[in-house]
Amino acid sequence: MDTNCIKAWAIARSLHKGANALGLKFTKENCIKPVLLNDKLISFGTSKGLVFTKQNLIILHSKGFAFPELRFLLSSPLYAFRKILTVKKIGYSLKSTKEDKRFLTLLLGVGLEATSVYMNQNQLCSGIMGNDTGLVEFYLNGDERPIASLDKENGGKWRVVLNQPMKNPRVRITFKDIDIGIQSCLGQLNPQVSSSLGKYTIDGYLPLMDKIGYCARITGNELPILIT
């Protein structure tokens, strides 16, 4: 994948993960799971109502608005409209001022999803990650279940799982509270300083988290949290 393709794919996957984080129920009509149609187009869902060029997806991310491909939209206007509503809902939720756990899960979900795309596809990031595998869990202090997990099995790809306990984490990150988690997702916290101040703790195999953190910052610089 070239640079723009990775960016667009990360945006599309993040939007889908955002919908998961918000607990939106999908039907065939409003499903926005991204599909790579060809080297120029990405469809939200298999029904092809809402299709963007990669370039327009990048514009959608940076400007908050971009035109979908009209020929697809006109062929299934109702499906397209429902999907647009879903995307708008995610965008609206990302601008929320309500600092609750749902918002944190949303931010973490979209941020980690974009990072996982970069770790899988971006040459620099995949080079940094090398053959590393394992499970990284993100917790809110006091919770028994992780808010989100980043995982890669041998021979697999990095993937993001929300709100599901899994087995044998290599790294466990615990945010002191929701506010800290949100600031962390928005890249407003310095990991070194925050760790020394106890704003979050990182336990387990730290070199893996160092690499993921570096990839997350590369991703965050190229794709700041979505403002669709």
Partner: protein, 408 residues
């Protein structure tokens, strides 16, 4: 948890004016989480005090930079006398020559010596000397080995371009077949092999060289006219008073020292065989404060102490006593703890603890007792540790094992 108020204030202030607040091996996220001290105020012998007034029984010795204890009286007194004369001048002080003479006297293969401030200054310079001598580009190192902060070897990820490592090849420690293969596939291109005396990577148990490792590495280098460089920065004076190569019974062509050399004063040295002296003369080397008479006086006194008090033998014996007792203690609580590497600088490893949760718990519990046990780096036994302090540490460690056991 011990108090952190002033440490927190300093962390906050530091973050405003220093990238990451603190960085490198002392950074909190990379190695030492909240329950450890982050800023120190004083140290004496085997204890130091953090900025909040918490006292710590130390097993890191300034990450190995201190071997005779903090503020060793003999060294401080010699340093104080030197300081009265001055530190850095337009030209080297007489002590520079004295120190070079001393090093070439105590390091059996060395006929010359140069000085800088940090290990990295001279590990990087030494590979350039090897390149100058051989007129070849490639340097071989062990995978995961630390040789400093320069782009050819640093463990970080930022600020690097591909060409930084285009002439650096790696092999797995102890895997002589791999090393041989590298020589074969790059015949006539390898300037140097740079290695630590044993493999002391962070976040992993230490690995000693196999019995035939060093003799084979030496032979391979000889057969291919490649320079063998020993990075003795961390280990120097902790295994043998005449350099760690003697502990493992081989002879390198150059060795780099720092850390214990100055007992906390910033100094590094590279020594070498006569055949490399011309090449060493051709590779530019300087630093405004590198002819630091105070640090050199500290180094000279430190080397004399190491010889007079057989410090390497002493710290190995003390380390053996401590490591064996700690392993036995762990076993009493059903923990399989192995103190890997040489006993004077042991790396603690719980069986099956690949993800490090157990060692982190243990070190956290130990920190509450005032023990500075590092979860991801080898520890250091200094000559200031004595049986009393080691027994005290073992007694405090017992509480930490108890706490861990209760948490299960």
């Amino acid at each position: 948890m011990r108090s952190h108020n002033k440490s927190d204030q300093l962390s906050t202030r530091a973050s405003a004016v220093i990238p990451n607040g603190t960085y490198g091996h002392v950074s909190p996220a990379g190695s030492l989480p909240r329950h450890f001290a982050h800023f120190c105020s004083a140290g004496e012998g085997i204890e130091f005090t953090d900025v909040d007034g918490n006292r710590w029984l130390d097993f890191m010795c300034a990450y190995g930079a201190v071997i005779h204890g903090y503020q060793n009286p003999a060294i401080e007194s010699a340093v104080e006398k030197q300081r009265l004369q001055g530190t850095v001048f337009n030209h080297p002080h007489e002590i520079t020559v004295e120190l070079a003479e001393k090093l070439t006297e105590v390091i059996d293969f060395a006929s010359w010596s140069v000085f800088a401030k940090n290990g990295s200054d001279l590990t990087t310079w030494s590979i350039r000397v090897a390149r100058e001598h051989t007129k070849r580009p490639i340097v071989i190192k062990a995978k995961g080995a630390y040789h400093g902060v320069d782009a050819w070897c640093d463990p970080g990820m930022g600020g690097r371009v591909k060409s930084d490592r285009s002439d650096i090849l790696e092999f797995e420690w102890n895997n002589l077949n791999q090393l041989e293969e590298l020589f074969k596939s790059n015949d006539g291109q390898i300037a140097a092999v740079i290695l630590t005396p044993y493999h002391h990577a962070a976040f992993a148990p230490s690995v000693m060289p196999n019995e035939d490792f060093w003799s084979n590495v030496r032979s391979l280098c000889d057969n291919h006219e490649t320079v063998l460089i020993l990075d003795d920065v961390r280990t120097g004076w902790r295994l043998h008073d005449g350099g760690s190569h003697r502990y493992f019974n081989f002879t390198p062509d150059m060795s780099v020292y720092s850390k214990a050399l100055g007992n906390g004063y910033a100094i590094s040295a590279c020594v070498g065989i006569p055949q490399l002296k011309n090449a060493a003369s051709e590779v530019f080397l300087t630093g405004s404060c590198w002819n630091d008479a105070v640090a050199m006086r500290a180094a000279l006194t430190s080397i004399e102490l190491c010889g007079n008090e057989s410090v390497a033998k002493s710290v190995l014996e003390k380390g053996n006593y401590f490591c064996e007792a700690l392993e036995r203690l762990a076993l009493e609580f059903d923990f399989q703890l192995q103190m890997t590497g040489p006993a004077s600088m042991p790396y603690p490893w719980f069986e099956g603890d690949e993800n490090l949760f157990q060692i982190q718990k243990f070190c956290q519990a130990a920190s509450a007792q005032g023990l500075f046990f590092h979860p991801h780096h080898n520890w250091f036994i200094s000559n200031a540790h004595d049986k009393g302090t080691l027994d005290n540490a073992l007694s405090l460690a017992q509480h930490s094992f108890e706490e861990m056991k209760n948490e299960l």
